[in-house]
C-alpha cells in the first residue's frame, strides 16, 4: 500500500543518525521550555529560526516540530507539581493534577499524563499520515478565490477560538494583516509603510514580531508579578498508575485524543484549545463530575492527551494547505521560507522526504519523550528549582543573539524591543496576540490571492460566492461568527474560558 511505502520512506529519513539527533534536541528543548514557566514554544522557535538556516530543511523542521509537541509533555510536569502551567496548554491540568500531587499521587498523575500524551501522539501521527495526502490533493485544485476564502475562514476561526473579546480579536487580526503588508509590494514594487527605512522595505521581521510580542512581553509581564513558586513534591516515586487508574482513565484518553485531533486540524485550533475543550467535555460526561477539581485522574488524562494530539494534528493545515492554524505553525512557515520551501500542497509531492520524514519523526519523538519524561523526571524537578531571576536573563541572551544573527545588524534587535513594548501594551489591554501573528503571516498571501481572484473575475467580487468550495468556506466562516455572536453561545463561551 502507498501509505506503508510512504511511512517506510519517512522512517528511513527520521531514523538517520543526524535526524535522530535533531529530533532528540528538539524534544529535549521542548521539554525544557515546557517545564519552565515563562517561556513558550513560540519564543523558543522564534529564537532558533535564524540558527536553523545552517541545517538542512528536514532536520530543521524535525527539530522545530519536536519543540512544539515536546513542550506539551513538559508543561504537564510543572502543572502537576507546582500548580503553574509550564505551558499555556496545560492550564487545565493544574486543576486536577496539582490536587493529585497534594494527595501524594503526583507519580500516577505524571505517569498518566505521559502515557496519555504518548497514545495521543501515536494516533495523531497516523491521522496526519492518513488525512494529509487526500487533503493536499484537494488543495492542489484550489484557485486564488478558494485560497482567499480559506484564509478568511482560518482567521475567523482563530478569532472565534481565541479567548477574550471577539471584536478585539478581529481587530488584532486586521492589525496583523496590515503589519504584514509593510514592505515592498510585489506587484508594483512600491515600498509601503517603510518611511524610508531601508530595512523596512523587506517587511517587518517575522521573528521580531513573534519574539517581541510573545517572548519579551511575557518576561516583562512575569516580572511584574511577585515570584511565588512552591514545589509540592520534591521526590516523585511510583510513577506507574495503578490498574484502577487505567480503568478510570482509558476512556478519557480516547475521548481526549479524538477531540484533540479534531480541534487541532481546525484553523485556529491547536494544543491550547484542545486541552480546554477536552476538560470541559470530560466534566460533562463523567458520572462523578463533583470529583473534578479535587484530583480526578480523568481531569489530567483527557486534557493532556488532547493537547498533544492537537499539537500534532495542527500540522495538517500547514503541510497540506500552507496555512498556519496557530502562531507556532506560523513560525514553521517562517522556517520553511528561510529554507526556500514554499509551504503548500506541493510540498508533499515535491519533497516527500521532508513531508514523510517529519511525520515519522513525530512518532519517534513521542517515544523519546516518554523516556525523557518518566525515568528522568527527577532532573526536570531540579530544573524547576532554578529561580526566575536566573532564568530570564538567560532567555534574553539567547533571544537577543538569535534576533541579531538574522541579518547581523542592530536593527532587528531594536525592532524586537519595539514589539516588546507593543506586546506589553497588548497584555495590559487584554488583546490576545495570537490572532495578530496569524494575520501578520497571512497578510501578503491574502492580498496576493485577492488580487489574483479579482483579476481573473474581472473585478467581480461575486466570484467568491460562485465557486462552490469558496462559498462553502465563507458560509462556514459566517456561521461561526453568527454562532458566537448568538447571545446564548456567547455566554457559554465566556464561561468556558473563565472556568479554567
Amino acid at each position: 500500500m502507498d501509505l506503508f511505502s510512504n511511512l517506510a520512506l519517512g522512517f528511513s529519513v527520521a531514523l538517520s543518525f543526524q535526524n535522530l539527533f535533531y529530533c532528540l534536541m528538539g524534544v529535549l528543548l521542548g521539554t525544557l521550555i515546557g517545564v519552565l514557566p515563562g517561556i513558550g514554544p513560540v519564543a523558543t522557535i522564534a529564537m532558533l529560526l535564524p540558527v536553523t538556516f545552517t541545517l538542512n530543511p528536514t532536520s530543521a523542521l524535525i527539530m522545530l516540530a519536536g519543540i512544539y509537541y515536546g513542550a506539551q509533555y513538559g508543561g504537564s510536569t510543572t502543572a502537576i507539581l507546582v500548580n503553574i502551567p509550564g505551558e499555556s496548554s496545560s492550564v487545565v491540568t493544574c486543576l486536577d493534577g496539582y490536587q493529585m500531587a497534594r494527595q501524594g499521587r503526583a507519580g500516577p498523575a505524571l505517569g498518566i499524563a505521559a502515557i496519555g500524551s504518548f497514545f495521543a501522539g501515536c494516533v495523531a501521527t497516523v491521522i496526519i499520515a492518513l488525512f494529509a495526502p487526500p487533503l493536499a490533493e484537494v488543495a492542489l485544485k484550489f484557485g486564488p478565490a478558494e485560497y482567499f476564502s480559506l484564509m478568511v475562514l482560518g482567521l475567523i476561526a482563530a478569532t472565534v477560538l481565541a479567548h477574550g473579546s471577539l471584536i478585539k480579536a478581529i481587530a488584532m487580526v486586521i492589525l496583523g494583516l496590515l503589519l504584514g503588508l509593510v514592505g515592498t509590494d510585489v506587484n508594483s514594487g512600491v515600498a509601503r509603510f517603510s518611511f524610508g527605512v531601508s530595512e523596512l522595505s523587506d517587511g517587518i521581521g517575522f521573528v521580531s514580531v513573534a519574539m517581541g510580542v510573545f517572548g519579551f512581553a511575557e518576561i516583562i509581564a512575569n516580572l511584574e508579578q511577585k515570584e511565588k513558586r512552591e514545589i509540592f513534591t520534591k521526590k516523585v516515586s511510583n510513577l506507574l498508575p495503578s490498574l484502577q487508574d487505567f480503568k478510570d482513565s482509558w476512556a478519557s484518553i480516547l475521548r481526549g485524543t479524538a477531540l484533540g485531533s479534531f480541534l487541532g486540524i481546525l484553523p485556529g485550533g491547536g494544543a491550547l484549545l484542545a486541552s480546554f475543550a477536552a476538560y470541559t467535555l470530560e466534566k460533562k460526561v463523567s458520572k462523578n463530575s463533583a470529583m473534578f477539581g479535587k484530583g480526578a485522574i480523568q481531569g489530567v488524562a483527557a486534557p493532556e492527551s488532547a493537547n498533544n494530539a492537537g499539537a500534532q494534528t495542527s500540522f495538517i493545515p500547514l503541510l497540506t494547505l500552507g496555512i498556519p492554524s496557530n502562531p507556532v505553525m506560523a513560525l514553521m512557515i517562517g522556517a520553511m521560507m528561510i529554507q526556500g520551501i514554499a509551504p503548500g500542497p506541493q510540498v508533499m509531492t515535491e519533497r516527500p522526504q521532508l513531508f514523510w520524514g517529519m511525520i515519522a519523526s513525530m512518532w519517534v519523538g513521542n517515544l523519546m519523550l516518554v523516556v525523557l519524561n518518566l525515568p528522568m523526571i527527577g532532573m526536570w524537578i531540579k530544573l524547576l528549582m532554578v529561580p526566575y531571576r536566573i532564568l530570564y536573563p538567560s532567555i534574553l541572551v539567547f533571544c537577543c543573539i538569535g534576533v541579531y544573527s538574522i541579518s547581523n545588524s542592530p536593527f532587528d534587535v531594536m525592532q524586537t524591543a519595539a514589539f516588546g513594548v507593543v506586546g506589553y501594551i497588548f497584555v495590559k489591554l487584554e488583546c490576545e496576540p495570537a490572532p495578530l501573528i496569524l494575520g501578520f503571516i497571512l497578510g501578503p498571501l491574502m492580498e496576493e490571492n485577492l488580487r489574483r481572484a479579482m483579476l481573473l473575475s474581472r473585478g467581480d467580487p461575486l466570484v467568491f460566492f460562485q465557486r462552490p468550495i469558496s462559498l462553502t468556506m465563507l458560509l462556514i466562516a459566517a456561521l461561526l461568527l453568527a454562532v458566537v455572536l448568538a447571545p446564548a453561545v456567547r455566554k457559554k463561551r465566556e464561561e468556558a474560558f473563565v472556568e479554567a
Binding site: 540558527v51 545552517t54 473579546s165 471584536i167 478585539k168 481587530a171 486586521i174 492589525l175 494583516l177 496590515l178 503588508l181 509590494d185 508594483s188 512600491v190 509601503r192 509603510f193 518576561i219 516583562i220 516580572l223 511584574e224 511577585k226 515570584e227 526566575y388 531571576r389 536566573i390 530570564y392 536573563p393 538567560s394 534574553l396 541572551v397 539567547f398 537577543c400 543573539i401 541579531y404 544573527s405 547581523n408 542592530p410 536593527f411 532587528d412 534587535v413 531594536m414 524586537t416 524591543a417 516588546g420 513594548v421 506589553y424 501594551i425 495590559k428 489591554l429 487584554e430 488583546c431 491574502m446 492580498e447 485577492l450 488580487r451 479579482m454 483579476l455 474581472r458 473585478g459 467580487p461
Partner: protein, 267 residues
Amino acid sequence: MKFELKITSSKDFWAGLMFIAFGLAFWYIAQKNYAMGNAVRMGPAYFPVVLGGMLAVLGAVIFAQAFVAKSSDPAVALPFRRWYLIAALILGVIAFFFRDARDPSLPGYAFWKEVAQANATIFSIILLFAAFPLRVFPFRLWRVLVGLGLGELAYWWYTKLPPHDANIAAVIGHTLLSGVAVGLIFAAFGERSLWVILFSVVIFGYVLKPLGLVAATILLVVISAWGGHEFKWKEVTILSIALAAFSWLAFVKGLGLPMNVWPGLWE
C-alpha cells in the same frame, strides 16, 4: 468647564483608541502615498485602505463599548474640559480638509495652507491634551519629551559618525545617549521591569558589533537582572560570565555565527 465620561472599561477605552489610531494611520498613509488602482487591478493602496478603514471602525466599536460594557475593571470617570475638546476637534477637521487645498491663485494661499496644515494639527493636539487633565494619561510626559529630544540628538550624531566605528569615544557616547533616550521613553510608561529589560536589549543591539559578544552579553545580563525583584551581585556576575562563555562556545564556535567576540574597535 469640566465634564466627566463614565468609562466602565478603561482597557476597552485605550484599546479602542489604539485600534482607531492604527487604522487611521494605515488608511491615511496608504491613500495619500500609493496608487489605489481599481477592483480589477488593485494598486498598492487598495488592500491597506480597506483594512485600515475596517480597523478604525472596529476600534470605534471597542471604544464605544468602553462606556457601556460590564467588565471587571473598576468604573473610571474620565474628566475632560468640554470646550477644549470641541475646539480640538474643529481644528483637527480644518487641518484635515486643508491638507491638500489646491488653488494657489487664492490670496494668501501659502500662508493659509501652512497654518492649516501645521498649526491646526499642532493646536488640535495641544488642545486635546489640555482637554484631559494629564493624570488621565498613564505615562510621564516629560520623560517622553526628553527621551525624544535625546534620541533626535543621538540620531544626528549617528549620521555624523564615520562608517567604520573608528572612534571609540564617539561610539560609546552615541550608544549611551541613544540608550538613555530609549530608556527614558520606555520609562515614561509602565513599570521598571518593562523599561529595564528593553533598555538592556537595546544596549545589547548597539554594542554587539563594536564591543563584541562577550562584553555585550555581560552588559545584557547585568542590566536586565536589575529589572527583577532581587539583585545579587555574586549571582549576576557568575551568571553573566557563564552565559557569555556559553554563547561564545555555542553560537560562535559551534554554529559558526559571524560575530565579533572581543572589542573590534582597535583593529
